[in-house]
């Protein structure tokens, strides 16, 4: 791989990672379950990492990823809604409305809602912070396992179990009442701490230093409430 190609690949990886949490939040809040959103986004990322190094990073990488992931999700939804009259028409209208939103750069930020979903008491407390790190902040299971001193396989299994629980028991994206916040914010602070710590020693511009700014963003979000 030439130096230029390496640089393109690094840029593609960076752009993809940057968009990850935003997109998981948006897709899962509006179009399906957390696991569906992650699967669709994983496909889109794979496509991005194979196409962007050659074709260059698109002007709006987030919109590109969203379109591909959204299409993937819509395929699944159409299959399950086939019996419902007019569902295809509605899906098309929704896609058009969304495209217009992206054009205006007004994609709603659903990361906070996704984070709050991860703090739902129906999810094992010990898994709430790891789940946030994976779904919202794009950490790998192995990195999370490392931070929580747990074997990577075990962490992977536990995260998968937590996501199954979210899907199967119908955990929703309802924002909890203010009275529930004190109980739910502790796990959020754990996630912020791990995220910040990982980014602390990293050079500017690297993926890890990005994680540090994500941590700061999260911290600001929490204190703003």
């Amino acid at each position: 791989m030439s130096q230029a190609e390496q640089a393109e690949t690094a840029l593609a990886a960076f752009a993809a990672r940057d968009a990850f949490g935003r997109l998981v939040g948006y897709l899962s809040a509006h179009f399906g379950t957390l696991s569906d959103a992650e699967d669709a986004l994983a496909d889109a990322l794979l496509a991005a990492l194979s196409q962007w190094p050659q074709a260059g990073v698109p002007a709006n990488p987030t919109a590109w990823l969203l379109t591909v992931a959204r299409r993937r999700l819509a395929d699944g939804t159409r299959r399950s809604l086939r019996a419902e009259k007019g569902a295809a028409q509605l899906a098309l209208l929704a896609e058009e409305a969304e495209a217009a939103q992206i054009e205006q750069g007004a994609l709603p930020d659903e990361r906070l809602r996704l984070l709050l979903l991860c703090t739902h008491p129906a999810i094992d407390r010990a898994l709430q912070a790891p789940l946030m790190l994976q779904t919202v902040l794009g950490f790998q299971a192995a990195e999370i396992a490392d931070a929580f001193l747990i074997a990577p396989n075990t962490m992977g299994q536990r995260l998968a179990r937590a996501k199954t629980k979210i899907r199967e028991s119908g955990l929703g994206f309802d924002v909890p009442p203010a009275s529930a916040w004190p109980d739910r914010v502790a796990a959020l602070l754990d996630a912020i701490y791990v995220c910040y710590k990982r980014g602390w020693a990293a050079p500017a511009g690297s993926a890890s230093s990005e994680q540090r700014s994500e941590a700061l963003w999260l911290a600001e979000l929490v204190t703003a409430r």
Binding site: P121, A122, I123, D124, R125, R161, T164, K165, E168, S169
Partner: protein, 115 residues
């Protein structure tokens, strides 16, 4: 009189639901339900998703506590229930004996309290 048959299934039964052998597992329950319907004794009933999907709530000293998991940890867990019409507990027990989980787990039989 109405009786509730509570189906208590071991972990291995819950595993069978999604792995190879799932067809045989569900066929067993379908046949049992069909027999109850045919005898005209079935009032209602439902199968439940596995205990890993359970969430348990308690209010302790006025404070709500919500926890991931079923109310009691254990190798055997609630998998579903039937309400049946039976003349006596013996008749209800005869139906209990035919439930697929009678051999792998247990069936609890209890009369429904008439209000």
């Amino acid at each position: 009189m109405h009786y509730m048959l509570t189906m208590i299934e071991p972990e291995s039964d819950f595993t069978r639901r999604s792995e190879t052998g799932a067809e045989a597992y569900w066929a067993g329950w379908q046949a049992y339900t069909a027999a109850l319907v045919e005898a005209g004794v079935l009032v209602s009933g439902n199968a439940l998703k596995g205990p890993e999907t359970a969430t348990t709530l308690r209010i302790l000293e006025g404070k709500t506590s919500i926890q991931d998991g079923p109310f009691s940890e254990g190798r055997e867990q609630l998998g579903g229930y039937y309400i049946i019409e039976a003349a006596s507990v013996d008749e209800a027990l005869r139906w209990a004996a035919r439930a697929p989980c009678a051999e792998t787990g247990a069936v609890e039989v209890r009369p429904v309290l008439e209000m």
